[in-house]
């Protein structure tokens, strides 16, 4: 079924090489010398994007543990876009905040390589190693502003709960290994299909522990405690990166493990996912309404979006299949755009991320206010944006799969969430107040990246068929 070759590794190698180059450049950088390290990252990411486009439909597999099937390549595409946009936003933020550029880019690229590896992994051990490559780099990125106590604290909370959850994940792998005698996902899948009728408590235990591990990473209630703190304490640019990249990669691996390897046991894990999805949507939305910090509010919003993704995973029928990947893509560009605006509006000693800081933004920065409005409306799921199409297909899939309860909860929470997104919009347009401490102007690169993200939101919202089609064909390679 797979062509064994070295090819599947190429996208990862491109990103790793760029990361190593960034590290070496930082090592040999003289004091105060400026280097175009971000450009290195861009080159590596573009190379990764091109190579994954060339690998499309070829089903390459390397060493039996990494498969570049269309599913993995589609997620790689999302991750490459996330990486490129983040680098474009970063260029001015790094200098303004005094973040060491070489370390920042190296860590970001290493964590991206882990994410890509996670999306392509066909072996539970590789999923674990990739998860750790991704996470360890992101822990450090969260606390990269060492001079800020809250950043360090966020980093530690994230680290502690992340390490804790990865122990559970690993325990799940151990039980799977004990039952199946292998960690290869395809072999596990065949074995599970052969003995699906037998109620093996070890399999249930393994699935439960793996689920806990994944749920921590995609911040599903009740494993979401770290999310608001980590998202608020981290620099806005890092929050944008981790709220999209980490979630996309972890969700891709989640879908691959549960939809391909543990698919025969769907009757056992579906009820658990049902409860988790409902809880996640409700808690994320309801607690989000009470927030006064924009980053924290978007953190709860991203928790709620994790719930919608779980609904898509649960109702992965003919309609739902494509919806998962489409939603991931739509969520990634939308959330990146929102955090991008927060990032460019911040100042070195002042995050400018409280809701009241956005009062009257329309009068001082009409362009940024418009961009923020579009991304918030897309997060809320209003037409004609990407978020609307994503939610539409997710809920349609849930209804056609018979999960009426989840669909109703989803629609209700979406309506409530529109309220808190609109609160920000109203703040920006109605209140008239000159904001002090905002940066004088935004560089062309940052604005270009924002414009690209907004264009992508509208493209996915108005002409979704092409991407939907692509997503449907990608996910059919695993399920």
């Amino acid at each position: 079924m797979f062509n064994s070759s070295f090819d599947a590794v190429i996208p990862i190698v491109c990103v790793v090489l760029a990361a190593l180059a960034a590290m070496a450049a930082e090592a040999f950088r003289g004091k105060g010398e400026r280097m175009p390290i971000g450009l290195l990252g861009l080159v590596g990411l573009v190379a990764a994007g091109v190579s994954s486009a060339l690998l499309w439909n070829r089903n390459a597999a390397s060493f039996g543990v990494l498969v570049a099937d269309n599913f993995g390549l589609f997620v790689t595409g999302i991750l490459v876009v996330v990486g490129i946009l983040t680098i474009l936003f970063s260029s001015e933020v790094l200098e303004r905040d005094g973040i060491p550029a070489g370390e920042y880019y190296a860590l970001m690229l290493f964590s991206l390589s882990g994410m890509i590896m996670m999306a392509m992994a066909n072996d539970l051990l590789v999923v674990f190693v990739a998860l750790e490559i991704m996470s360890i780099a992101v822990y450090v990125l969260t606390g990269i502003r060492r001079d800020k106590p809250e950043a360090t604290e966020a980093s530690f909370k994230y680290f502690l709960l992340g390490a804790f959850s990865s122990a559970f994940f690993l325990y799940g792998i151990a039980f799977t290994f004990g039952v199946a005698g292998t960690t290869r996902l395809d072999a596990i899948g065949e074995l599970m299909a052969a003995q699906a009728m037998v109620d093996n408590p070890l399999v249930l235990l393994a699935m439960g522990l793996l689920m806990v591990g994944f749920c921590f990473k995609i911040s599903v209630v009740p494993f979401h405690m770290w999310t608001p703190d980590a998202y608020q304490g981290a620099p806005a640019i890092v929050t944008g990166f981790m709220s999209t990249g980490v979630k996309a990669a972890a969700f891709a691996a989640f879908a691959r493990v549960f939809l391909s390897a543990f698919e025969p046991y769907i009757a056992d894990w579906a009820p658990a996912i049902w409860v988790l999805a409902a809880l996640t949507m409700i808690v994320g939305t309801v607690v989000g309404v009470a927030q006064v910090n924009l980053k924290r509010m978007l953190a709860y919003s991203s928790i709620a979006h994790g719930g919608y993704l779980l609904v898509g995973l649960l109702s992965a029928n003919e309609v739902g299949k494509a919806a998962i990947l489409f939603y991931l893509a739509a969520y990634a560009v939308t959330n990146l755009a929102a955090f991008g605006v927060i990032a460019v509006l911040g100042a070195r000693d002042q995050g400018n991320d409280e809701l009241r800081d956005y009062a009257g933004l329309w009068h001082s920065r009409p362009a940024l206010a418009t961009l923020m409005t579009v991304s918030l409306l897309s997060l809320g799921g209003l037409p004609p944006t990407a978020g609307f199409i994503g939610k539409w297909y997710i809920f349609a899939a849930a209804v056609s799969a018979g999960y009426y309860g989840l669909a109703i909860i989803g629609v209700l929470t979406s309506v409530i969430s529109v309220f808190f997104y609109l609160r920000v919009v109203v703040m920006m347009f109605m209140k008239d107040r000159e904001v002090a401490g905002m940066p004088a102007q935004v560089s062309g690169l940052g604005m270009a990246a924002l414009a690209v993200a907004i264009a992508a939101i509208f493209y996915l919202g108005i002409l979704p068929t092409q991407v939907l089609d692509l997503a449907a064909r990608s996910i059919s390679t695993i399920f």
Partner: protein, 100 residues
Amino acid sequence: MIPLSHYLIVSAVLFSIGTTGVFLRRNLITVLLSIEIMLNAVNLSFIAFGRTHGTVDGQIIVFFVMTVAAAEAAVGLAIVISLFRHRESLNPDAFTALRW
């Protein structure tokens, strides 16, 4: 020969000790140690399972887990040091800059 279940029970007990430590201890270094105990408990399971399956896969997995654990511990300690510089305390209850 010692049956597989003995190893699994020891491993489960160790894992529970680690989990309890993470929740109950009030010193960040001890909490980090508890997480290491959890990872090593899992290593024991891997080796026991690998032995029953008659392959060396279990032991090879343990090598990877050890490496990952070392990397994680190094980053964790580094974060603890920079946290200590801000707070002069290792008690997690002292960290309250972020709360909803």
